[in-house]
């Protein structure tokens, strides 16, 4: 079978690999160290988007370095073309606080359950594995600020392209089962989760997140001890991580060691002051707009991406190309994925790959045969089973959260 080339031409591709020695624009102020001078760099397609590809983080392969300490590592986008499950060693990394334990004594580790419960628990890892019915679910973990670098106007924060997301098969114990073991008392309102990481100075609020009690007990929220059939990489939360299917990753507390059932609303900084979105459709406001009610970020929205074609790719006239990518539905399954080869005038349904779980990535695929030379703007959009569809216009908010605009690439038919 003929395989058309979908590799972009060097001259037209906006995101391209380059060698630092040839870059000429040695970054912001030429602060790259001697080691970085020989490093492979990637230019993400937005201002100040130069990123080093690093392989020196433990249990991680090649990743885009955004920040060393605490680590912010982005998954290179080509990884998403390789399968709907993101390999553990390529899964993105995002920590808020730099005091991260680098040694975990698995025998001494305890998961504590306390607060508004009948009986406090102090569970070993073996307790969790052996005494609770194992539960598995495929789910996308996506940073609230994934794709923040594409916001216009730009906003401060972690300047991700589209690689602050990943899909894994999570295995662990249902949070509901663990809470039932402890016995939630009447009047419980929320459940607060804390991990082993802390701030460097005591003034920094410890990173904690909370869920409503009914959400915590929905039978899907879980405590994962395995990710794609292996223990979690330390930087993804070893040994335990909360998994909140369909919700943004800020709730997926890493190195989870403390669960506290609250009978009053959590007032900690990370729940009440951080990770807030405008209470508007698509969390969208005008830049500078004031007086909008803010609420905690919550459910994810649908997204879809091309994975084997980028801006500037060349297609041969009269030859059939297979275009493919991934989609996910957010807090509901992918219902349909639509493809347009005429900048959104007409849409056709893409063929969907196997369903590996409603919260996971799903492959889509279309065949395209350009019949005459020229530029074509290709677009892809997902609709979930709750009816939510990716919007035509990019959203904007001051935190750079919840981007899910329809993605597009321009290709040349020659």
């Amino acid at each position: 079978m003929h395989r058309p080339t979908l590799m972009p031409t060097p001259m037209s591709r906006r995101s391209f690999l380059l060698r630092a020695s040839a870059a000429g624009t040695a970054g912001l102020m030429g602060t790259w160290g001697s080691k970085a001078a020989a490093a492979t760099l990637v230019e993400l397609p937005f201002a100040n988007g130069q990123r080093e590809i690093v392989t020196n983080f433990p249990q991680k392969g090649a990743m885009l370095l955004q920040r060393t300490r605490p680590p912010l590592l982005e998954t290179p986008f080509e990884v998403f073309d390789q399968g709907v499950f993101t390999p553990n060693d390529r899964f993105y990394v995002r920590w808020h606080l730099a005091n991260i334990p680098t040694t975990i004594d698995t025998g001494a580790f305890r998961l504590n359950v306390r607060g508004h419960v009948r009986e406090q628990l102090s569970l070993t890892l073996d307790d969790l594995v052996r005494e609770f019915q194992p539960f598995e679910i495929a789910a996308v973990n996506q940073c609230s600020g994934n794709s923040r670098g594409f916001f216009k106007p730009r906003v401060p924060g972690g300047e991700w392209a589209n690689g602050a997301m990943g899909n894994a098969l999570w295995r662990g114990a249902r949070l509901k089962d663990v809470l039932d073991r402890a016995g939630v008392n009447a009047g419980a309102l929320q459940v607060r989760f804390n991990g082993l990481d802390t701030g460097v100075i005591p003034q920094t609020p410890d990173f904690m997140k909370s869920l409503a009690i009914d959400h915590a007990r929905d039978g899907e929220v879980m405590i994962a001890y395995a990710m794609n059939g292996e223990p979690l990489p330390l930087l993804n939360g070893f040994p335990l991580r909360l998994v909140v299917p369909g919700w943004y990753a800020t709730y997926w507390v890493k190195m989870l060691n403390d669960i506290e059932v609250l009978n009053e609303a959590d007032d900690n900084f990370w729940t009440t002051k951080a990770y807030l979105i405008p209470d508007t459709p698509y969390a969208n406001v005008d830049p500078g707009q004031q007086g909008v009610r803010m609420i905690p970020i919550n459910r994810m929205v649908p997204r879809s991406f091309f994975t084997n074609v980028q801006d500037g790719a060349v297609l041969k006239v009269g030859q059939t190309a297979t275009l493919r990518g991934i989609a996910f539905g957010g807090d509901a399954a992918v219902a349909k994925v639509f493809f347009s080869s005429d900048a959104g005038d007409r849409w056709k349904e893409a063929r969907l790959g196997p369903d590996r779980g409603k919260y996971g990535f799903r492959r889509w695929e279309v065949m395209l045969r350009p019949s005459s030379p020229g530029t074509q703007r290709l677009m892809i959009k997902a609709q979930n089973t709750a009816g939510s569809v990716q919007p035509n216009q990019a959203n904007w908010n001051g935190s750079g959260f919840m981007r899910n605009v329809i993605e597009s690439v321009s290709v040349q038919a020659v």
Partner: protein, 137 residues
């Protein structure tokens, strides 16, 4: 636009074709196995201690007036986070500095905010008119 639309010819996948096209990308249909011996919960599974070393940052702030304040920033995070920000207005830099002070407890005296904001704006400032350079109270 219409010209582009006419130039496209749709080829819809038929079952025989699907076999061919999916044949080259089998990885898509393979789910990770949770039953492997490497998975916690598998028969004979034993937890192992994990000990890793995290790399240290080799990125430094460029010299200049105000750079002497930046070690305060490095208490909690490496320089890359700052240097990889989009160009920000001076007002935005002031906002970021004050967020570090008020929300995260950065030990940065109030009388150093302006000097640090000037420095950050100089090394990574948005190219905007001077009207954006608003002094904070």
């Amino acid at each position: 636009m219409k010209l582009i639309a006419r130039s496209v010819r749709w080829i819809w996948t038929v079952p025989s074709l699907l076999v061919i096209t999916l044949g080259g990308s089998l990885a898509w249909s393979q789910a990770p196995s949770s039953a492997s011996a490497t998975s916690p919960g598998a028969s004979g599974w034993q937890w192992s201690n994990v000990s890793v070393a995290l790399p240290t940052s080799e990125t430094s702030f460029p010299p200049g007036d105000g750079a002497e304040i930046t070690p305060q920033c490095l208490i909690c995070h490496s320089a890359g986070m700052v240097l990889r920000q989009p160009p920000l207005t001076r007002e935005q830099w002031v906002g970021e500095i004050n967020k570090m002070r008020s929300a995260y407890g950065a030990p940065l005296p109030a009388d150093q905010v302006d000097r640090l904001a000037d420095y950050l704006f100089r090394i990574n400032g948005a190219s905007v008119s001077h009207t954006a350079k608003i002094s904070t109270p």
